[in-house]
Point group: C2
Chain length 147, copies 2
């Protein structure tokens, strides 16, 4: 069965742990937004092993610290959703998380000003910031250097 | 410093573990929606202890099973947000999670039909279902009986 997550490009790889990979999200409205994909195909949180959870917890700690160091992130929204996988049967979800850093200040990076106009409120799914592939690469490099 | 979570009413208590309490959320658009509050005041995921995480993981497993048994939940959205706590300084967030069960079918409960018109998509924060306190109590009892 087709699984988008299993087949996703690893071009935007930020970090790899024993059980998870961290990719820069295509939308960088909230600079540093990333996805955390389980390496194996598992369908729900209840399916995760103790080792996978422990690795995840350690990874979140590393990522929070790296995003604070890279862009002075103020706080984080961490979400487990997987709704897209339920648009048609047979459902085939693959465990992954979204991590959005949130900012109470503008972030100047490589000549671009990244803002968080919804700070203090729920993220806006439509909010984004157009950036070149060169800038994407630089964001990845910056986070990598701080992990 | 005032903390809304520390002072929240425990009237809607569904379950209590060593480190967390589970409360029925005021909005029941997605039937069974609940909040999972850390008992002590801690400000971020990176502050959680190993024991608190382990207890949380075990709790999520219990809740997923209970919501499947109670209302045949199809999948779950689990979110860590805390945006409200960042609306004014000094920020004073208190670690808590939101768990929304999502449904690919209508749920008939105590004469009310609970629907999930956004199934397969991001939850709608404005979507709700007006219910009486009596029904709220029955939802709590049902989940409790299945934990």
């Amino acid at each position: 069965m087709h699984c988008h997550t299993c087949k996703s490009s690893k071009d935007d790889l930020i970090y790899e742990s024993d059980y998870w990979i961290v990719l820069l999200h295509k939308s960088q409205g909230y600079i540093g937004r990333c996805m955390i994909d389980l390496k194996r195909h598992a369908e729900s949180l209840s399916d995760l092993t103790k080792d996978e959870w422990e690795d995840f917890i350690s990874l979140i700690k590393k990522l929070e610290a790296a995003l604070k160091k890279s862009f002075m992130a103020t706080t984080f929204n961490l979400t487990f959703m997987m709704n897209d996988a339920f648009q048609e049967k047979p459902y085939n979800p693959h465990v992954h998380w979204h991590l959005r850093a949130r900012y109470d200040h503008d972030v100047e990076f490589e000549g671009i000003t990244f803002k968080d106009p919804q700070f203090g409120k729920h993220y806006d799914r439509t909010y984004t910031q157009e950036i070149s592939n060169k800038i994407r690469t630089k964001i990845i490099q910056k986070i990598k250097a701080n992990i």
